[in-house]
């Protein structure tokens, strides 16, 4: 049972990791926490649905197209709505993100109406039985996709000049300006990547779950919990935090009470911030007074 739970937790956790990572990418570049991110996740799922079911595109190209569209949306959102309020208080930025999420949800609600939509299964594969352990197609697909993506991303960041430049912008935006980087464009890029990665989270859960306009809300909190656990602003921490959260939910649900699955994320947030605010890998989350 432990192994099975671990597998289930990993595949859930990979989704959380992806969402936490996408939140962190945006946070690191612009110090904005996207409180509307859940709806970006939903929009990704929605777009891939529209492409697959209504336009008849195959799942893979549909996923890529949806991510590209969300990338553009993220860039436009940063340029059009975040930049004008950047100088203001955090509250304005938080609200702007919530507002954007609301608009996305409103649009989904208008188009979707009252239907709850099923996405056709894509990773239809007979489960593999290893003794007591059952390995399912979607677990393999989700874990595999996210792992490959993470390898590419972290590889790019560590090995390439572009990655170094991104790190430079994250570590010191002023320094990045001093070496002639167009920081605004990097910020746009980060918003685009954040939106596209979040959308991928939505695309991956879409065939597993059903689609409805409120799909994103729960993922936002999971993303926050994963970020907090891993350490706010740490890219690697976000990934690890997501995986740990996925595992914690499964273990708590199986060994304690299945009613606890829903609040594991909240408990993690409260506990981490009170006990070890910097999370597992992050810098201090507290303000010194």
């Amino acid at each position: 049972m432990l192994m099975q739970l671990t597998l289930g937790g990993l595949s859930q956790g990979m989704i959380y990791a992806l969402i936490a990572l996408s939140l962190t990418v945006v946070y690191r570049s612009t110090t904005v926490v996207n409180f509307g991110h859940g709806d970006f996740v939903m929009a990704g799922a929605f777009l891939s649905y529209v492409l697959v079911v209504l336009a008849g595109v195959a799942f893979l190209p549909a996923a890529v197209l949806a991510m590209i569209a969300m990338f553009v949306l993220g860039v436009l959102f940063n340029r059009g709505l975040i930049r004008p309020v950047r100088g203001g208080p955090h509250i304005g930025l938080a609200l702007m993100c919530i507002a954007a999420g609301y608009v996305l949800r409103g649009i989904a609600r208008m188009v979707w109406g009252r239907e709850v939509l099923p996405m056709p299964a894509v990773f239809d594969m007979q489960p593999i039985f290893l003794g007591n352990l059952v390995i399912t197609g979607d677990a393999v697909f989700i874990i595999g996709t996210v792992l490959v993506l993470l390898l590419i991303l972290f590889g790019l960041l560590a090995m390439t000049d572009l990655g170094k430049m991104i790190q430079a912008v994250y570590q010191s935006p002023r320094g990045a300006r001093l070496i002639g980087l167009n920081v605004d464009r990097f910020n746009d890029f980060s918003w685009g990547i954040g939106a596209a990665l979040g959308a991928l989270g939505g695309i991956l859960v879409a065939p597993v779950s059903l689609l409805h306009p409120d799909l994103g809300a729960s993922f936002l909190i999971k993303g926050f919990a994963a970020m907090t656990l891993g350490g706010f602003g740490s890219l690697g921490g976000a990934v690890l935090g997501g995986v740990l959260l996925g595992l914690a939910e499964q273990y708590a649900g199986a060994y304690l009470d299945s009613a606890l699955i829903e609040i594991t994320a909240y408990v993690v947030i409260v506990a981490v911030l009170f006990i070890r605010p910097q999370g597992l890998f992050g810098r201090k989350a507290v303000v010194k007074v």
Partner: protein, 392 residues
């Protein structure tokens, strides 16, 4: 200032028209050629898929209207959104009652909202036919003007448990549900019935809305190996739960679901017959959703709402609309609210041709539908069942 305020309060109270049940009140919302009916439902918000129930009902009004109405009067639906939120629902009810001055109310999908509305509507005194929400406390204890036109939670929950126990040698029953009022309205009466029969659920699990994984729950079930599982889950989570159940090699355990799901859509959602072949649902209808007996009703909905996707909710409130029309017919042209309520209390064993159980309203009991059939796959075909292995 306090005294001033209380003086004013007393003044304002006495000035407001007392809801004396006079002649004007009796025929409020009524003209020679129209009866206005307030239709409340979650037309927006995250429960808006339930408002399908009200679409079916309003399509039936349209059909009656197309056939000349009732004693020359058209049934005019005045829609108000509750968004499945109690404060918003109360505002909707008060608007319909005191501003739009409708003749009567029919509708409501969310039990929580309906429960919150009950005191207000009871006080207002106009007839209200609850056409979708299932909570028993909407119509029990009896309120003179509130009629329940669908099987209540108690009726459904008992029907679920009855069906579960009708399978021979069923002793080990597990329950999985959402922790919300909707799920409890099914699971609590089911639990009660099981206890009456000496069966204590061996495992009680929750799965929240929005969860995309049921591994933890399913593994617990795998250890317990129950004979039957009662699942009070919404559509999405039902599909996920069944899928995980099959994944982990327990596809042979029968699962009893609520009226919130149906076989056809669950099959569509999981995309795999093996996953749903042992799934049974409360099915309050006389036939499969796409069966010949339901076909005309589906056609009727599509005649007036061509875009509407049909689901199990689409038909649920048509039955009570039929009963309403029958009562209106019985009253005759001199319609009043009191006469309508009296006529509704005369409805006995009313066969709607759509609900599996008839509607009976008596002066002592306004919960009109006492039972429900169950649907499941028999030899690969969706079949309406009375009990395990017993076609309807």
């Amino acid at each position: 200032m306090k005294t001033f305020a209380s003086l004013l309060a007393a003044f304002a109270v006495s000035a407001s028209p007392l809801l004396a049940q006079d002649d004007a009140w009796e025929t409020q919302g009524l003209t020679d050629d129209a009866i206005t009916i307030g239709v409340m439902g979650p037309f927006s918000g995250n429960a808006s898929s339930y408002s399908k129930a009200l679409i079916g009902m309003m399509a039936y009004y349209d059909k009656v209207n197309a056939e000349g109405g009732v004693h020359g009067r058209q049934l005019v639906a005045v829609q108000e959104d509750t968004a499945c939120d109690s404060a918003k629902g109360l505002a909707a009810a008060k608007k319909l009652i005191s501003q739009d001055e409708v003749f009567m109310l029919q509708g409501n999908s969310c039990s929580g909202v309906a429960v919150a509305l009950r005191p207000t509507i009871e006080e207002a005194g106009l007839p209200w036919i609850v056409a979708h929400a299932v909570s028993d406390s909407i119509s029990d204890p009896l309120a003179a003007n509130i009629f329940h036109g669908v099987p209540t939670g108690r009726a459904n929950g008992r029907a679920m448990a009855q069906f579960v126990l009708s399978k021979p040698d069923t002793t080990n029953v597990a329950i999985i549900e959402h922790s919300n009022d909707w799920a409890h309205s099914y699971s609590n009466p089911a639990r009660d019935y099981l206890e009456e029969q000496g069966v204590t659920p061996s495992l009680e699990l929750t799965m929240e809305r929005g969860q995309t994984d049921a591994t933890a729950q399913v593994l617990k079930l795998r250890q317990e190996q129950p004979d039957f599982i009662i699942a009070a889950l919404y559509e999405a989570e039902t599909a996920i739960f069944l899928r995980d159940l099959k994944k982990y090699g327990m596809g042979d355990i029968p699962v009893m679901g609520t009226a919130g799901t149906d076989l056809e859509n669950t099959l569509k959602r999981t995309g795999d017959f093996d996953t749903v072949k042992n799934y049974y649902v409360i099915h309050s209808y006389v036939d499969n959703l796409d069966g010949p007996l339901m076909q005309p009703w589906g056609d009727m909905i599509h005649e007036y709402y061509p875009e509407e996707e049909l689901s199990t909710f689409s038909f649920v409130s048509i039955g009570s609309a039929e009963a309403l029309v029958a009562a209106l017919e019985a009253v005759g042209p001199e319609l009043t609210r009191s006469k309508l309520m009296a006529a509704l209390e005369e409805v006995r064993d009313f066969d709607t041709g759509i609900l599996s159980d008839p509607i009976t309203w008596t002066p002592e009991d306004h919960q009109g539908v006492k039972g429900s059939a169950v649907a499941g796959f028999v030899d690969g075909e969706p079949t309406v069942l009375k009990a395990w292995g017993q076609p309807y």
